[in-house]
């Protein structure tokens, strides 16, 4: 029988380190996925996911069963880290743009960001043309998601990519249920509008 997250956290609070390892193994993939989709930066997504787990590890005693699901708690921490990361990146980018304007160097433009679509594993039924087309499409979708304003991007990723429930999303984003629903609907409409020129490809 699979142990619930809350039970594992309780075990970890009592000192069972293995329970924490189980939680990490259970949640690290969706967490990395969420962060990577949100920030558009795969390598950094791993760092941020690790930082999320470190924070959970350190603050484990503050977690109390029944108040919030472990998953919700984890996503709240990750969301806050993502927000900080995006803010810091904007500052870095602004600084970089300023420096580039002065020194006319543009070599390190987007080198930090890795194409998360390209690093995804290839399909087993490998067909170069289809795969290339699919890769381009995924890139386009990722770019379209990345262009959404933050307030719409979060709920869209949590709902359509992470598959969370409306209640969970409301808890993570600290929104009322009605607001969450309308934001998700609005985000989907915005995404549809952005993907309109590529509908032929889809």
């Amino acid at each position: 029988m699979v142990e619930l997250d809350d039970e594992l956290m309780l075990r970890f609070q009592k000192g069972d380190e293995e329970a924490f390892n189980l939680l990490v193994r259970r949640h690290h993939k969706p967490l990395i996925n969420f962060i990577a989709r949100f920030t558009g930066d795969r390598d950094n997504a791993e760092d941020l996911a690790q930082e999320t787990f470190i924070r959970i590890y350190k603050a484990a005693d503050r977690y109390k069963q029944g108040r919030a699901k472990f998953k919700t708690w984890m996503y709240i921490i990750a969301k806050n880290l993502c927000k900080n990361e995006i803010r810091n990146r904007r500052r870095r980018d602004r600084y970089r743009v300023d420096n580039t304007a002065i020194s006319q160097h543009s070599t390190d433009g987007d080198s930090e960001e890795i194409d998360i679509v390209a690093s995804a594993p290839a399909s087993s039924a490998y067909q170069p043309e289809v795969a290339l087309q699919r890769k381009e499409l995924n890139k386009t979708i990722q770019a379209a998601i990345g262009e959404l304003p933050e307030q719409y991007r979060y709920p869209l990723i949590l709902r359509d990519i992470q598959g969370l429930s409306y209640d969970e999303i409301s808890d993570i984003l600290e929104l009322r249920s009605g607001t969450t629903k309308s934001r998700i609907n609005r985000a989907r409409i915005m995404l549809k509008d952005k993907l309109k020129p590529y509908m032929e490809m889809i």
Binding site: V24, R25, H28, K29, I32, N33, A36, R37, R42, A45, E46, A49, Q50, F53, I54, Y57, K58, A59, A60, D61, R62, Y63, K64, R67, A68, W73, I76, I116, V117, S119, A120, P121, L137, N138, I141, Q142, I145, L156, D160, I161, G163, D171, I172, E174, K181, S182, I184, N185, R188, I189, L191, K192, L195, K196, M199, I202
Partner: protein
């Protein structure tokens, strides 16, 4: 239902969460509006492709790197705040609005503290307050205020021993209010305040 309302219901229809009445109106509109039909098809398609985005596989070193990073960290012990909130089962720690809730609770706690302190201070004053001399009442010179009664009449609030009054020959005044000799032996009137202003016949 018009086009704008139909668009607002796209997600609800896609997730089969429209109630019967809304569903009926939605489908009636969709049956007649080609533009909304096209938009809805694209809407569904964009959701489908975003749901089909490939999962990002973590690097093989992810778990080992995390283990190494965790080695340098220790679990934080609970703060005083956390202990209090846990003790009283205050749902603040994992709540989404924890910061707001904490502020509200802290404010309420401070108000309670101030109220409790004020009550204690005033209660003490209530039972141990000494009546201040009335500025409108003339002060009797000290040589005339030697006896406890005169001192009382002078506006001071103090303990008056009935036995002392009887000894001074003023016990008859108290006999009229029914103080028996036995009681006179055992009781002491506390904090009786007299003033020179006429009480209309009473004490």
């Amino acid at each position: 239902m018009n086009c704008l309302e139909a668009v607002e219901n796209f997600s609800a229809h896609y997730e089969d969460s429209l109630d019967y009445r809304s569903l009926k109106h939605f489908e009636e509109h969709m049956a007649t509006c080609l533009e909304c039909q096209r938009e809805y098809d694209q809407f569904c398609l964009s959701i489908k492709v975003s749901q089909e985005l490939p999962q990002i596989e973590p690097s093989p070193a992810f778990l080992t790197t995390l283990e190494h990073k965790l080695e340098g960290n220790e679990r934080e012990s609970l703060t005083i705040w956390d202990r209090i909130s846990r003790l009283f089962n205050i749902p603040l720690i994992n709540m989404p609005h924890s910061n707001i809730a904490r502020r509200v609770f802290t404010g309420a706690a401070l108000l309670l503290l101030v109220a409790a302190t004020t009550t204690i201070v005033f209660r003490d004053n209530l039972f141990h307050q000494e009546t201040q001399p009335d500025a409108t009442v003339p002060v009797i010179p000290s040589e005339k205020a030697e006896s406890p009664l005169i001192r009382g009449i002078g506006g001071l609030s103090q303990d008056i021993d009935i036995n002392e009054l009887f000894r001074l020959g003023m016990g008859s005044e108290f006999s009229s209010i029914g103080v028996s000799p036995l009681m006179q032996q055992n009781y002491t009137l506390k904090q009786v305040s007299y003033s020179s202003i006429s009480t209309g016949g009473g004490l």
